[in-house]
């Protein structure tokens, strides 16, 4: 996961299959190649929101504030989930609401780091499709 997180934001695309990233991690821990022939279009402006290691009920109010600030931004919003270790239903609910809001405005949400924790939580809650995580796209 660490190796993955070292990859640049531009070098990854959300539709990259997770499996390949896992393989990449195993075989070449230092460098993760971007998907063949496709490089992410450089955004003129980008907003990144870093999710802390614990993203649970006591943190959601603060996170909501941050998400609201960027919800209407035209630029791509990147959610940095590299540090995320623990997430609960309240946080998943909030992230789903954010993704839905962005989708309604046809604005992009990118994920930085492999969102395994989030994916597992969303899968358990039956909310994986709502989050539009890389694998699900």
């Amino acid at each position: 996961m660490k190796a993955k997180s070292k990859s640049s934001k531009r070098a990854r695309r959300s539709d990259r299959p997770v499996q390949s990233s896992v393989e990449a991690e195993r075989e070449a821990p230092a460098v993760v190649p971007g998907p063949e022939g496709v490089d992410a279009v450089a955004q003129s402006t980008e907003r990144t929101i870093v999710l802390a290691s614990h993203c649970t009920l006591k943190d959601v109010a603060a996170l909501k504030g941050e998400l609201c600030e960027v919800a209407e931004d035209c630029c791509t919003v990147t959610l940095d989930v590299r540090a995320l270790e623990r997430v609960d239903t309240a946080a998943v609910q909030l992230l789903c609401a954010f993704v839905r809001e962005r989708q309604a405005r046809e604005r992009a949400v990118e994920w930085l780091g492999e969102p395994a924790t989030l994916r597992e939580a969303a899968r358990l809650l039956g909310m994986e499709p709502l989050l539009a995580l890389p694998e699900a796209r």
């Binding site: 609201c68 358990l124 809650l125 709502l130």
Partner: protein, 692 residues
């Protein structure tokens, strides 16, 4: 909002201790060789939920230990491991350790790490030994888990063989998160029970800016294919009770039975969802009928809420006050005349009835089945008999008999003492029993039943009975009984309740120090109860305890002394009579006595004890009430008898201070305070006065 998980600690500890009791009881019921899957599932659930809870609250040591327990139980559940006596013992010891760990965590005390580590090692050893003994390559705990899961998942055609297919509609109320519940935990638990299909509904989530991030807007439709019973499914949602709307149905059951639908009503608005009411009409949706039936269904499902005893005591107190106000109004109503007064009186009669019903309902809330106390004995008898090398079977009857919580709490220790005595002194060793022509396995009885407004609890055994000769010999040695005197059997047996009286030749760590039986009797007396012993040589002995149903209300006889009213507990009264002049004798050191039935009874003039000016100064002008306490009788001299009534006891110690000879006070219909007499205390008091 910072969520303080500490506020849920108490509930967690309460529930965990209860769950451990259940686990212990189930372990004791477990048949070695052919265990019942239901019991194993129950035991597994306990370990599982304690593990989950302690992990949530960060009690890592508890979580780690219960995890090992759970792994072993999972082996038992999957029938990969056999239930042996050794395994049951190991798990019973684990229950003890979990209990101690939780207690230590609860009181912020250090955990006995060595003991925990030792037992954890034993548990792991048992798992490893079993796995290496098994013909299949030994899987590690984690792999085992995977195997179990893959069996569930891969065996799609076999899935039909699972006993149930539960469909669950789980609609949390907005406050669910704030109350410390995370649906993820519940879904994870469900997924561990079998194959889980989840359909989440997020349609009700408002736009991001408008949403309260700490409220839950989601709801789920779930489907679990599992062997788990309804009870197990219910337990997953235990913590969310009151914070969600829950409908659980078994798809396998063609006609959805009413009992398969549970609603946890909290918000009237959301509770107005259709409820399947009767199996015959599953689609019926008449709102009026639903409202009537909803509570019945919740009762049927055993849904309950946890209420602190303080709140119930408060309620009890308020009802007590209401009883007093009501009787005050009734007295007042009786004095009025005219047509309106008649209406008032009929209203008051209605009020009286309602108040009485209310009082009974509140009393019932305080009642708990005696099984709360009895449940500790199977384990105790098992452990004791093992240590003593005896074979003892415990037979419990009437464990659903209900008693007031306060009485229950105080009766535990005396019963432990009696049961321990029965196993230690009562039941003989198998050799002695065989020689006496009895089956090698002895029996200890524990019975509870209602008898004349009281509860009787009997502890008995089919052992050798009390040794009358030895008791008598000891009593003679100690000068309690004269050398040539032979008291009746009852009186001899009664000697065992004397302080420091023991006939045991050697004391053990279990019993025989002669400390205890006197404490047992004192404790029971303090509860307003009595204990007697019956014994047949060679056939066993029985201890019969009589207890009042409650300590909050007493049946009393009100008596007048001068301008004061006193309440004498009915249970202590033997007879009331009027003395004729000449029936009274004066005895040196005892004051006035009179002949009653078969002996002289001292007279206690209540007005003298309490310093009240009496209306009747001569004994033949008033009445004598013969009362008994601590095995002694006295005649209480009072002015007149007023009437019998149930009175609500108010503690004098709480409201004033403890007064000798008085056990409490009550407020009468006219608002006056009447003291409730403590007859044994009064007898002691009058004895001291006479001696002075």
């Amino acid at each position: 909002m910072a969520l303080d998980l500490a506020q849920f600690h108490d509930a967690f500890f309460d529930e965990s201790f209860e769950a451990l009791d259940t686990m212990e009881a189930s372990l004791l019921k477990l048949n070695v060789g052919e265990p019942e899957p239901e019991l194993i599932a129950t035991i597994f659930r306990v370990a599982h939920s304690i593990k989950g809870g302690s992990a949530t609250f960060g009690f890592t040591e508890v979580a780690s230990f219960t995890h090992t327990c759970e792994t072993l139980l999972d082996e038992l559940r999957a029938a990969r491991m056999k239930v042996t006596r050794g395994i049951t013992d190991l798990l019973l010891r684990s229950v003890d350790v979990m209990r101690e760990m939780l207690r230590a965590v609860q009181h912020k005390e250090p955990i006995d790490a060595q003991r925990v580590a030792d037992l954890q090692f034993d548990l792991e050893l048992a798992i490893v030994q079993n796995n290496s003994a098994a013909p299949d390559p030994a899987p590690s705990a984690d792999e085992t888990r995977v195997v179990a899961d893959s069996t569930d998942a891969a065996a799609a055609p076999e899935a039909v063989q699972t006993a149930h297919c539960w469909t669950i509609q789980f609609k949390p109320y907005p406050q669910l998160f704030a109350h410390g519940n995370d649906p993820m935990r519940m879904l994870r638990e469900l997924s561990e029970l079998g194959e889980l299909t989840v359909q989440a509904h997020a349609e009700q989530t408002p736009p991001l800016a408008e949403m309260d991030s700490e409220s839950c807007y989601l709801w789920w439709e779930l489907r679990v294919q599992t062997d788990a019973t309804r009870e197990v499914i219910d337990q997953v949602f235990d913590w969310a009770e009151g914070d969600c709307e829950l409908q659980i149905t078994d798809e396998r059951m063609q006609a959805p039975a009413a009992s398969n639908v549970v609603k946890l009503p909290l918000e009237p608005a959301s509770a107005a969802q259709p409820v399947e009411a009767a199996p015959a009409e599953p689609t019926r949706a008449a709102p009026a009928a639903e409202h009537n039936e909803a509570p019945k269904q919740s009762l049927g499902d055993g849904s309950s809420i946890r209420v602190s005893t303080e709140k119930i005591d408060e309620l009890m107190n308020t009802v007590g006050e209401l009883v007093i106000t009501q009787s005050m109004l009734s007295q007042l109503g009786g004095k009025l005349a005219g047509p309106v007064a008649e209406q008032l009186r009929s209203g008051l009669t209605q009020l009286e009835r309602n108040v009485r019903e209310l009082q009974e309902s509140v009393m019932r809330v305080r009642m708990l089945p005696i099984s709360f106390v009895f449940s500790r004995f199977p384990r105790m008898v098992r452990d004791l008999s093992q240590r003593l090398g005896k074979q003892v079977e415990l037979k419990v009857t009437g464990d659903q008999t209900e008693l007031d919580k306060t009485v229950l709490e105080k009766i535990g220790d005396p019963l432990v003492h009696l049961v321990r005595n029965s196993v230690d002194h009562g039941v003989e060793t198998p050799q002695v029993r065989a020689a006496a022509g009895k089956p090698a396995c002895g029996t200890v009885y524990l019975e509870a039943y209602h008898k004349g407004g009281n509860i009787t609890v009997e502890v008995g055994d089919d052992g050798g009975g009390l040794d009358k000769e030895r008791i008598l010999q000891k009593a003679r040695e100690r000068g309690l009984v004269g050398a040539n005197e032979t008291p009746p059997d009852e009186a001899i047996y009664d000697l065992i309740f004397m302080a420091g009286f023991s006939t045991a030749e050697q004391t053990t760590d279990i019993s025989g120090r002669g400390v205890g039986m006197d404490v047992v009797r004192r404790n029971i007396k303090e509860l307003g109860g009595a204990i007697e012993v019956r014994s047949t040589p060679g056939r066993g002995s029985r201890f019969i305890i009589t207890l009042p149903l409650t300590l909050a209300i007493v049946d009393g006889q009100s008596v007048a002394v001068g301008a004061e009213t006193y309440i004498v507990p009915l249970i202590t009264i033997i007879e009331s009579l009027q003395l004729k002049p000449g029936m009274v004798n004066r005895v040196a050191g005892q004051g006035e006595v009179f002949w009653f039935r078969d002996g002289y009874v001292p007279i206690v003039r209540l007005h003298e004890v309490f310093g009240v000016k009496p209306r009747a100064a001569q004994l033949h002008e008033g009445l004598i009430m013969v009362v008994e306490g601590d095995g002694r009788r006295v005649g209480l001299f009072v002015d007149e008898l007023l009437g019998q009534q149930q009175v609500v006891i108010k503690s004098l110690e709480t409201n004033f201070r403890s007064v000798e000879g008085v056990s409490g006070a009550t407020i009468l219909g006219d608002g006056a305070v009447a003291l409730i007499l403590d007859v044994p205390g009064l007898i002691r008091l009058s004895g001291a006065r006479a001696a002075a």
